[in-house]
């Protein structure tokens, strides 16, 4: 057995250390540096890019399916409502990565700071688009918002205010696209694009027995590219909206 010899502290030094410990205790007892947040009654201020529950603005949604395609957990499913498709989220799968928020071209999917959630059962965790829209049911007891001040000693800043947990997101600045027929000779007149268009912007007209005319209403087209993805012969391609509007409407035939 190896015995480790520890140098014995001198008496006056250990007495000084005892006194220091006791004075520290007294100091803390009088004015403690407690940094506890009394959670249901107080809330920590969260940053705007906090990844909480998602919200859907059905008016803005252009049915582009991008959120469903990008979701790494496969949590987003598109539900058919009338002629359109809207995303619904399965929170049993959702990992709150907010890729869907980033991918949404019209800011229809909005982030929020709501993270303290309870569901009644597993089946209620699957939210259809109707339940995604609007604020969820909330009981809020908090009257104080707390922020930490990390400069120097850790301090708390308490404010008597209730934080709005819903984040308003502006529409991201991205070029707007519309669908146009780039290679009309490919078209086999299968009408998949007509049926798939959520805006009913595409129409087919029978000119004579040999030719069909494909018309795209650029006013209606939102650039969701559903038709482009669905076209089996790659007839359609996205075009920049401003360029197309300059060049006038393009009717193609097949």
């Amino acid at each position: 057995m190896v015995r480790i010899k520890v140098e014995k502290p001198k008496v006056h030094k250990s007495v000084a250390l005892h006194i220091k410990a006791i004075t520290t205790a007294f100091k803390e007892a009088i004015s403690p540096g407690t940094i506890t947040i009394h959670y249901p009654r107080e809330r920590r201020k969260l940053p705007d890019n906090f990844r909480g529950l998602l919200q859907l603005d059905k008016e803005k949604c252009i049915n582009c399916f991008r959120c469903a395609h990008i979701c790494p957990a496969n949590a987003i499913q598109m539900y058919q409502r009338e002629n359109k498709y809207y995303p619904g989220i399965d929170y049993t799968k959702c990992i709150l990565c907010h890729f869907c928020v980033d991918s949404c071209p019209t800011a229809a999917l909005k982030p929020s700071k709501i993270h303290d959630v309870a569901f009644a059962s597993l089946s209620t965790m699957v939210l259809p688009p109707e339940e995604l829209a609007g604020e969820p049911e909330m009981w809020r007891e908090d009257t104080v918002t707390v922020e930490y001040d990390f400069d120097g000693d850790l301090k708390m800043i308490k404010r008597k205010e209730v934080e709005n947990l819903i984040v308003e997101v502006e529409k991201p600045k991205r070029p707007e696209f519309v669908a146009g027929a780039a290679f009309p000779e490919n078209c086999i007149a299968c009408r998949i694009c007509v049926n798939s268009c959520p805006q009913n912007a595409i129409t087919f007209k029978l000119q004579d027995l040999q030719t069909m005319v494909l018309e795209i209403d650029f006013e209606k087209c939102t650039g969701c590219m559903v038709c482009i993805r669905n076209c089996p012969t790659q007839t359609l391609l996205p075009f920049r909206r401003e360029e197309v509007l300059k060049g006038g409407e393009s009717d193609e035939q097949g």
């Binding site: 410990a21 520290t24 205790a25 803390e28 007892a29 403690p32 540096g33 407690t34 506890t36 009394h38």
Partner: protein, 371 residues
Amino acid sequence: MVDVSGIVSGIVEKIFAALTANMVNIPILEPLINKLLQIPLVNLVVAFILWKPAFVILFVPGLLAVTVVLLIMIWWERKLTARIQWRVGPKEVSRRTGGIIQTLADGMRYMFQEVIIHRDAHKLYFLQLPILSFIPVLLPILLIPAGTIYAIRSPYAIQIAVALTALLPIFILGIGWSANNRFAFIGTVREAFLYVAYEIPLMIAVLSMVLLYKSGDPFVIVEKQWIPGIFMNPIAFIAFLIGMVMAAGRLPFDISEADQEIAFGPFVEYSGIIFGLVMGIAYEKLYLLSLIAAILFFGGWSGPEIAFLGELSYAIWLFLKAFVLMGFIVMVRAIYGRYRLDQALKFGWSSLLTFSLIGFFISAGWVIWLG
């Protein structure tokens, strides 16, 4: 024919007269007490409750005061320790008062919990000893006077009271033995080791103060304190304080209980209200030693008299002094970590013993100097 009812009423009258001759005088309650004394039978009960020896045991500094100490001191300890350690402490039971009735709520929970007696326990002693441990708690109270409220007056009162409080570890040893559990055994052996290490310096510190006042009678001791005893012999006070912390099993020396290591040692098998009782033992001992410390070092019940409380004001002063001292001692929990058994033994047998002996010589010096 013998007049039975006459004899009985005569005896009752004699008892009543004996009780009323030695009653506590509380001016603020006098109209109520006088009214109650008019009612037959009730007057006997009231006279008995206010009879000084019964009053000492039942109210201050007896059972009621012990209950108040248990209810408030445990809460205060948790709250103060939490404050020092940047936590919040008990809060949710009665939020506005900062959770002051938390201990009461815990006690209620213990009340409705099943008392489990495991198969290996020595059933008789396992259940008896926690209740019997009230004997060494309440007996010293008979000898600790609060002003004119006292049960027994003796020139050896302080010595007897300290000797009786020293009986409590015997009950803890019995509890540990009857529990028949390995943790209980470890805790019991630790307690047995420590027992002598702290009790001797504690007693020397008490005896040095008794030597200083040349009497063990609390009345003489309080009379002789022209300045509080803590200034006459601070070394003895420090020895007494540390011995008290060890004796009451407060944190730096709660080696026998050590909940993180051996899960409350001797008390590991208890549940329900019996667990509440055994957990109270440490606080009761702390309370008793605080009362003795208040008498020896802080001038006992001397203080400005509160007119409307009459004789009760002495008791209140004594209680308040003991209470403040306890409130300070429970803070030690937040400052120090637990010592190892060998460290505590070494400390008790070397430094603490030396300290108490120095205190003894200081007292002897005072006695020689003052003559």
